[in-house]
């Protein structure tokens, strides 16, 4: 299990990185934390001729809390974001989800943006990007563009990023005042990719539910948002849990794999959502 040969490029600026990307086109792959890419290379499931290693690119390692979003640079490691207090205060969902990503040693190297670019439907962060209506900032030979979450995920392990585009940052949208968020998942072993998971945001005004929205892990082809505002009812003291569970079951389309059947995952994600709703509303 050793990677095939490649040419290693180590740009130090975004402009340099883009220049390399332009030159190598689809023969290249961006190397961020490498926690998903290197196993793939070692198993020779992919053998790109060029790796554009962005770890030395200046200015990509910043977390910025803005009024409407938390902006996370492409070199921000999961751990850094997880531990960032201002990011937590602004958008608790980030930490709530990140604790479920792998184990600390992986989180110390893997990047949050890399997770999104990798777009594994079993990853936690794509569902967070969807629920926060986040935006991916991409730069390439044809210039920069913002890609909204709804357009970013194209299919399993497939995004709207072109082969020569670098995601320089992602902006996770912040929720309105009065929003409670939570994240729940069930994995076979701790730290494994989840059999099913749910990210949830419920916005309350006094005791009235203004909105309830969820996105999911491992049970939809691409992460999208399910609006549960109708199903849940408006009275926070007595949410309609059965209706929520029904809505979730109807929304998801889980596959059967070696770890669980599709039916089981559907049941599981509905139950996780039901429990998470209860938990959020009883906080």
């Amino acid at each position: 299990m050793k990677p095939a040969p490649f040419v290693h490029h180590a740009p130090t600026t975004v402009a340099e990185a883009v220049e390399v990307l332009r030159a190598v086109g689809s023969h290249g792959k961006i190397l961020a934390g490498g926690q998903s890419l290197i196993p793939i290379l070692s198993m020779r499931l992919a053998s790109p001729e060029h790796l554009i290693d962005i770890n030395g690119v200046a200015g990509l390692d910043r977390i910025e809390v803005r009024d409407d979003c938390v902006r996370v640079g492409a070199l921000v490691r999961h751990t850094q974001l997880l531990q960032d207090e201002s990011a937590y205060a602004a958008l608790p969902l980030l930490r709530q989800a990140l604790v479920h990503v792998a184990h600390p040693a992986i989180r110390n190297r893997g990047t949050t943006v890399g997770s999104l670019a990798h777009a594994d439907a079993a990853g936690e962060l794509p569902s967070v990007l969807a629920l926060t209506e986040g935006v991916v900032e991409a730069v390439g030979p044809r210039g920069s563009r913002d890609i909204p979450a709804s357009a970013f995920f194209v299919g399993p392990l497939e995004t709207a990023l072109a082969a020569d585009e670098l995601a320089v940052a992602v902006r996770f949208g912040r929720f309105p005042e009065g929003t409670r968020t939570g994240f729940a998942e069930s994995a076979r072993r701790s730290g494994d990719y989840a059999l099913a998971g749910v990210a949830l945001a419920i916005t309350l005004q006094d005791k009235v539910i203004r909105s309830a929205r969820a996105s999911f892990v491992s049970v939809t082809d691409v992460p999208d948002v399910l609006d549960l505002s109708g199903a849940i009812g408006s009275y926070a003291a007595v949410p309609d849990l059965d209706a929520v569970a029904d809505a979730v079951r109807a929304h998801v389309s889980p596959d059967t794999d070696i770890h669980a059947t599709g039916d089981y995952r559907r049941m599981l994600v509905a139950e996780l959502t039901r429990r998470l709703v209860t938990e959020l509303l009883s906080r």
Partner: protein
């Protein structure tokens, strides 16, 4: 100073080295060696039509490429059948490189050697093999149906068929007032040591000598096999096991193809060659275990006494049978556990499939047997409405019935005769430990909180320390350093410590002075290997016997020098002294000097010895007749039969009423391996075994699709438990000595994992209220079982 070391939880001698990065595992050797890699079959069953290596020839760093055609003489012949058996009527073994047919995904087809593993893999990727894909036989159902055959030479896919019967089962069954039938299933898992296999070979052309390191459980076996394959005199081959990162059974098989090919290419190329198995290779080209279908019919009286037990097993042996049918034989005999059914018959079929071969994995067939027996015990209890522990105890062999002969032949071809054990006492300890009698109240309380909990139990007996023999060799240097060698190998069992404890006691020397070497054929050429929980029993006793010899010799020599009788001497703290007059003494190192009548004095001890130089009798030879120079001793231990350890486990599990997630709340073990040489190490063995058992019960399986692809050949998908999945393990011990060996000990290596699947199945069954007949079990499967049991139509189809 004279505290007995035996029985002390002393710190391991091997650890300071291992915790500071000083271990020397296989891949830590030979940094400049060429690296081997293999092109392996992507198909489960196929004919090889053509192999084209030309594309790989220009790879920079390539040294050589070989296919079966290139293998000369015995290297190209089939690998040996290690353990033949009369009922193994269709044995088939593989080749170092497949000649014309491949029988499982992962089988080696082409060998590549290059300057490093990177280049070797580059070349592997450019070799083209054309296959004609044949229909694969995957799974026991298909093997049994035999619509397609794995090997033409094995009709019905049957490698072996064996029946053993004690008493007349048909008559007893017909007469039994109650009868039950259980259809059971248990799936494959694998040893999965953290270090894969590996071989490193150095050929000394000047000396025409091969030195071979292998991450193996038997260096003597590998040495003999390689010498035979390469047509080398045994004297020209050394085999050494360096530090080995776990074995659990898979490394007892030998020779693996790589163990032959690596030294063969090293000799051919005149350059060291190394192969370090990677994780993917380990999944598809080493060995698996456990897969069986079982059918149990049991006849019993109204008190739950088993009158007739009729078991049929279908055992999946994978593509080849190099290790014979040891696993199903053990299942069929050790199934009986601590019980004495009125009559017993076991019939098994060992079947070929186009999957990785099956050889012993810690427990070696026992987990399956215990599973069958214990599921049966629970079923009897359920049928009669009796307490599950009570039904078990009514069937126990009692201490006063020891030795107890079952009338069957065990894995070593000798009678299955238990030597010791106190099963009622073990059960009493277990019930106290887990709180058996209080559980009903706890369960009720949990139920009132909407929680589902269940208590499970499983008992086993394990034949340990099987022969034929092991040896011990001890030599004391003039410095007082005691060198101990035994031929079997070590994979983490702490042999350097426990054997040193034995020697320290026997010889009366400080343990710091004792240095143990295992698995090095240069130091001990006769040995069998480490498996079947036999190391402590076999080598422990052999070393004790060798130590007694050395001691006798030391006393003889010292007695002469001190002019006393040997009976008046003792050895304490490395000093030979006169009992009651400790002032009159000499160091063992000094005795060592005197044992070797050589004149040179290189060290203090030798100079010190001159004071004892006795009269130089010109009529006597310097080395007396019957004596040898040196303070050295060697002995072998060869028992007539195995010694039987036993244990009982109980677990409390909780299952989520909605999601069917399964959590082990408590895990309790009562274990009897006789007197413990080092209780800390025994405890560690139990913990490790239980963890593997938990893996096998709830997480691990080998998932083959119908085409014979292993779908979970990575640690991402083969779910070996992390710490988060393993419960805290509570242990208690009984120390019933074995009457069979000088130290009274029994093996402990495999024990922990044997009953775990049975125990967890029992506990889940208790929590859920419906029978568990297939293990391992995952939440998704438990959830589906629940659906079936709430649908009355499906429930009728449920066996039992």
């Amino acid at each position: 100073m004279t505290t007995r070391q035996f029985g002390q939880p002393i710190k391991r001698k091997e650890d300071p080295r291992l915790v500071t990065g000083g271990g020397r595992f296989l891949d830590d050797l030979g940094h400049t060696a060429y690296a081997a890699a293999f092109v392996r079959s992507p198909h489960a069953h196929a004919r090889i039509l053509d192999i084209d290596v030309t594309g790989a020839l220009d790879v920079p760093g390539l040294i050589g490429i070989w296919t079966h055609e290139d293998l000369p003489g015995k290297v190209g012949e089939p690998l040996p059948l290690l353990i033949p058996h009369p009922s193994l009527t269709a044995p088939v073994t593989g080749y170092c490189l497949a000649p014309d047919e491949v029988n499982h995904v992962g089988e080696a087809v082409v060998m590549v050697v290059a300057v490093d593993r990177y280049a070797a893999e580059d070349a592997c990727g450019l070799v083209r093999v054309d296959y004609d894909v044949l229909p694969p036989v995957v799974g026991l159902e298909n093997a049994r149906a035999a619509t397609d055959l794995v090997h033409d030479s094995a009709p019905g896919n049957v490698a072996a068929h064996l029946v053993q019967e004690v008493g007349d089962v048909d008559i007893a069954m017909a007469a039994a007032p109650n009868r039950l039938t259980l259809d059971l299933q248990i799936e494959r898992s694998m040893c999965s040591p953290m270090e894969g296999k590996g071989v490193y070979a150095v050929w000394d052309a000047d000396d025409e000598h091969l030195r071979l390191w292998s991450s193996t459980q038997t260096t003597t076996g590998v040495r003999a096999a390689v010498a035979a394959k390469l047509d080398l005199p045994l004297a020209k081959v050394d085999c050494i096991a360096p530090d080995v990162g776990g074995g659990f059974g898979v490394k007892i098989v030998h020779p693996w193809p790589e163990e032959v090919l690596v030294p063969w290419t090293a000799r051919l190329l005149g350059h060291d060659v190394k192969w370090t198995e990677d994780r993917r290779e380990h999944f598809v080209s080493s060995a698996h275990e456990r897969g069986q279908l079982q059918q149990v019919e049991v006849g019993f009286d109204d008190d739950g006494h088993v009158l007739a037990l009729d078991v049929r097993l279908w055992h999946d042996n994978g593509a080849y049978t190099p290790y014979g049918i040891i696993v199903p034989i053990i299942t069929s005999t050790q199934l009986l556990g601590p019980y004495k059914p009125g009559s017993y018959r076991c019939e098994f079929w060992s079947l070929y499939t186009n999957t990785v071969l099956v050889t012993p994995y810690r427990g070696a067939g026992r987990p399956q047997g215990v599973y069958a027996m214990e599921r049966t015990m629970d079923a009897i209890a359920a049928e009669l409405g009796l307490d599950r522990a009570e039904v078990r105890s009514r069937n126990f062999i009692l201490p006063e019935e020891m030795p107890y002969d079952h009338g069957l032949l065990f894995q070593d071809g000798r009678p299955l005769k238990y030597d010791s054990g106190d099963f009622p006492a073990s059960l009493a300890k277990l019930k106290a430990l887990v709180g058996w009698d209080e559980f009903a109240a706890y369960k009720e309380q949990a139920a009132s909180e909407g929680r589902r909990v269940g208590l499970g139990i499983g008992c086993y007996v394990e034949g340990t320390g099987v022969g034929p023999y092991e040896g011990g060799h001890i030599v004391i240097e003039t410095s007082g350093r005691v060198n101990v060698a035994t031929g079997l190998t070590t994979q983490g069992q702490g042999h350097q410590t426990v054997f040193a404890q034995i020697v320290a006691d026997e010889l009366g020397v400080p343990i710091e002075n004792v240095f143990v070497t295992t698995g090095d054929t240069r130091r001990m050429g006769y040995a069998v290997g480490t498996f079947a929980s036999r190391a402590a029993v076999m080598s422990g006793n052999a070393i004790a016997l060798a130590a007694r010899q050395v001691k006798a010799k030391a006393l003889r020599i010292a007695a002469e020098a001190l002019e006393v009788s040997p009976e008046d001497l003792e050895i304490v703290g490395g000093m030979v002294r006169v009992k009651g007059a400790p002032g009159t003494s000499m160091a063992l190192g000094t005795v060592a000097v005197m044992s070797n009548p050589l004149r040179y004095a290189f060290d203090e001890a030798a100079r010190a010895a001159t004071q004892f130089a006795g009269g130089n009798d010109p009529d006597k030879p310097p080395v007396a007749a019957g004596e040898e120079p040196g303070l050295e001793g060697k002995d072998f231990y060869s028992p007539t039969q195995a010694t039987f350890a036993n244990g009982m486990h109980a677990a409390i599990v909780e299952t989520d009423p909605v999601t069917a997630e399964i959590r082990i709340l408590r895990y309790c073990v009562v274990h009897d391996c006789g007197p413990m040489i080092n209780p800390m190490i025994v405890e560690g063995q139990v913990h490790g075994g239980v963890a593997q058992g938990v893996g096998g019960a709830l997480y691990e399986r080998m998932v083959y699709d119908e085409s014979g692809q292993l779908l979970n050949a990575s640690f991402m998908d083969f779910l070996m438990p992390y710490a988060s999945e393993v419960p805290f393990i509570e242990t208690d011990h009984l120390e019933t000595p074995s009457p069979l060996n000088p130290l009274g000990i029994k093996g402990a290596g495999e024990a922990g994992c044997i009953p775990v699947s049975a125990v967890i199945a029992s506990a889940i069954e208790d929590a859920e209220g419906f029978p568990i007949r297939s293990m391992p079990i995952s939440p998704t499967e438990l959830w589906e079982l629940r659906q079936r049991h709430t649908e009355p139509v499906a429930a009728q189809g449920e066996p039992s």
